[in-house]
Amino acid sequence: MQFNILLFIVVSTVSASISSNDSFHESLNIRVLGNEQVYSFFNFTTNWNFENEFNKIHYNLFPRAIGQIVQKYEIAELHFTMTQGLWRYQLWGFPEASAPTGAQVWVWFKKGTTNIDDKWKGFTNALSGMFCASLNLINHEVTVSPQVSFRPTGVVESADNSLLRHGGLSRENLCTENLTPWMKLLPCGSKHGPASLLNPSSLQHSRYLSIGLHYNSLCHDVTCGSTYVQLQQHISVVHDIRTTLDQYPNFSLASIFDRPLHPSCPLATTSHTHIAPPPDADITPTMETRDQLKYLNLRNLNSPTNIKFTWRLLPRLPTPQTMGIGSHCYITGLGQDGGITCLLTNNEHSNVSIIFLQVIPWYLRAQIHTLTIKTNTGSNIEPTWFSFTPAHIRGSPHTLEMVLSLPRESRVTLSLWFDRGFMTWVTHPPDANHGFYIQPSIITTPTPHGVVRVYGEALLVNIPVPDFSMPYNVICLVCTVLAIAFGSLHNLSTRKFEIVPKSSPNNLFGKFVSVFKNIFKKSSP
């Protein structure tokens, strides 16, 4: 017995010393949005220094599933988000991490990777299996390689955009079956630390839920002599405070998440909570203030706690935030015509340069010659840089990418017309009358703090559908018409005219007609 204990201690010490080159950090940021919603941002980061190949490494805190996928498909950088709901930039300000509705995957492959399209397909299938999401539907019809919108966020050997693949599925729904494998990637699972709040049923009752997974390589220092890989997992969730009517407007983490906040994960190097205190509220337990934010170190907790928010005064109506950049997109058009109109708002006091990316599927024939960009004063804006890749039938989508300079304190209207195309019977998805999604427009703005992305709305378009019950009937009818033509022309070319006696007809209808004619002949004098 004692020998077993001794062996256990020796083995764990040895393994801990081998794996001392990775670290895990977890944090929770809470912000109250007006008086109706509360925004919680969970961030779990695993940093890992390694010098060897992936397959000679002992995986400790870094999830092995991700490591194997990254190694097999030669991925330098990976970004994956799944979102349910729409982030209301005008009301809620800026999220910590922006994500479009549905699923979005973008990947930078390593320099020198061959057969990138096959690797992309294999990777999306592997990711789809891992997260139980239909990411295998990301095929060549939704994949693009944008030139300037999605530059690498970490260290890569080559930033040639042929190594970049971006795919979006706006139709994907976020369910608990996607959350479960995501939480399994965390070292402590959902037992300790901020992850203990992640109750799937309370998350599904939220206004906005987004999970993300980001993998890249970063430099240790400015000289970038050595790099380390970083895996960031985050969840953004916006809850309605109003759901707990008996306590409204006072709420607590337990009332929105239905679980207490457990002490930190023992494997975490840092674990804390930052709360942006609302002006008229009291927060219990009392926390120290750092940089105007309430700070709570979860490593110092001994038992599960609850953080309560109590209002001293009645809350006022929320004031819409004047976001720096905002975007609102919608569909226009009637009948066969359709159009996409995006209203881009710039509330800053100076001109802002943005990169605008819009991907339109092949079955909506975008008419690029109808693209107009106008300010609210009516003057036209010329893009500084413009690129349009037209679509191929049943192939790659239209990609519109341009660099625009939005004038200060203005609203720019960008509109483009498209024709609704027609798909064959087998190309339609099972629920054809649901409509087809256009991926959200993506506005990328470089700022001193990094790259900021604002996503528009995912748009739903109906295209005319054929009658799905008709294949046999259609074949019969068209072949009948062809047979009429063929029969007449065949008679014409193979037969000669001859004089034959006018014989009495031998079918019933002919006999009836001849009897009818004889009656009239007899009656006329």
Binding site: I393, T424, V481, L492, I499, P501
Partner: protein, 431 residues
């Protein structure tokens, strides 16, 4: 001549007036019956803008016409935007004049033929013979029908490239009787270069060479070689312009593989929308052979009537091509008066004509109900277009059958009876 001048000036004025009604022009150019993925003006403009981006007007799947047409219209547009509608009106006018000249020459030749074979004609057929008043009235009627046919007018004001195809075919038929192989095959090559199907009409040129030329000058193979020569020149010029072999043949690939299932007035779109993938290639072959094959038996049967052969081949092309539009039908509709002396022998002409008119009106109505009002589905439009196709088939077979019956009757008499008996007899096609 003054008649022709009056008709042409009225036609030009009508088109000019209609072209300045911008809303009407825009609405008509969106009709699927009028503009197809191959001929649409807005797709051409889209191709211009894309070619500025990518350097190739055929990149993407927007423009599916030929290289030289896009180059010609692009430079025209760059010169002045008013020049383009003027060119389309000029196309119509020149085509009408060519058809007028053709009708005159053809009827003159038929009359001469008839007079020289007077001995073979039966007695009492004077009432059905071709007469001088036909020669005076029919050419003007042909030009009138071509210019004032609603199909031609909508093609002109929607700036659909079918107008050019009709122009080249009209010039081709006008030169058929003159014996100048080079001019005939040049226009046929221009038409084939744009849309693939008129390649069948080379057989007509060879037969006309055989029939209408003097003994010493006859060389039936000359049109064929001239045609191939002109086609090679056209492809060489487009290769020099575009620089890529794939893109100069991309419009042929589009015509023959039919990837785009946009509704139109033909039979391809709904069929290929509804079939299973497994049968796609097989039926593609069947439909294309159907459009391309009929010249073989018909040219054997109608070898001594090459103009009739040309008529029926034009009908077959315009009905069974992969992306037809109403503009394809105007050419042969305007040629119908050439056989006005045979109309007596047509079967149910009224029903067939009314069928054509009704389906032409029904198609836009069904389209509106399907696409805009959402109160109908695709089957309604499909049925109307199928009836339209059937009416075309009836008209073309009726006309040719009537012409052949007329030929039989003028040899055997208006009233037919079996030798030696007074029993009433009719003409039937028998083996």
């Amino acid at each position: 001549m003054t008649n022709l001048f009056v008709i042409i000036s009225c036609g030009v004025l009508l088109r000019t007036w209609l072209l300045q009604l911008k809303d009407l022009t825009k609405w008509i150019s969106k009709r699927p019956e009028v503009s197809t993925p191959q001929t649409s003006w807005s797709r051409l403009v889209e191709g211009f803008v894309i070619s500025k981006q990518t350097g190739n007007v055929h990149s993407g799947d927007s423009y599916h016409g030929s290289t030289l047409l896009s180059a010609f219209l692009f430079h025209l547009q760059a010169l002045s935007p008013l020049l383009v509608p003027a060119v389309f009106i000029a196309c119509d006018v020149i085509a009408a004049i060519s058809l007028h000249n053709f009708a005159k020459k053809f009827l003159q030749k038929e009359l001469d033929d008839q007079n020289s074979h007077k001995s073979k004609l039966s007695k009492g057929v004077d009432s059905i013979l071709l007469k001088l008043h036909h020669l005076e009235n029919v050419p003007t009627l042909v030009a009138l029908i071509y210019l004032f046919n609603p199909f031609t007018i909508v093609t002109c004001i929607s700036q659909s490239s079918v107008a050019f195809n009709n122009l080249f075919l009209a010039l081709y038929v006008a030169h058929l009787m003159s014996g100048s192989s080079i001019a005939t095959t040049l226009f046929l090559a221009l038409s084939t270069y744009e849309t693939f199907y008129p390649v069948q009409l080379i057989i007509v040129a060879m037969l006309c060479q055989h029939k209408y030329q003097k003994e010493g000058n006859r060389n039936a193979a000359k049109p064929l070689f001239c045609f191939i020569f002109w086609l090679l020149i056209l492809f060489l010029v487009s290769y020099l312009r575009e620089g890529s072999l794939e893109s100069i043949f991309s419009h042929y690939k589009f015509i023959l593989t039919v990837p785009d299932q946009t509704p139109n007035i033909g039979i391809f779109w709904y069929f290929f929308t509804e079939i299973f993938n497994h049968f796609q290639t097989f039926f593609l072959f069947v439909f294309q052979i159907n459009a391309l094959f009929f010249f073989v038996p018909l040219s054997i049967k109608l070898r001594s009537h090459p103009i009739c052969l040309m008529f029926i081949l034009t009908c077959i092309i315009s009905t069974f091509k992969s992306y037809p539009c109403v503009g394809d039908a105007t050419l042969w509709i305007s040629m119908l008066p050439l056989w006005s002396h045979t109309f007596k022998y047509q079967r149910q002409p009224l029903i067939v004509t009314v069928m054509l008119l009704t389906t032409t009106i029904l198609c836009p109505v069904m389209w509106h109900m399907w696409i805009v009002a959402h109160s109908a589905n695709a089957n309604f439009y499909f049925a109307a277009s199928l009836a339209y196709t059937t009416s075309h088939i009836f008209i073309m077979t009726n006309t040719v059958m009537a012409y052949l019956k007329w030929h039989y009757h003028i040899r055997k008499g208006v009233r037919l009876n079996l030798d030696g008996s007074t029993e009433k007899a009719v003409l039937r096609l028998m083996n």
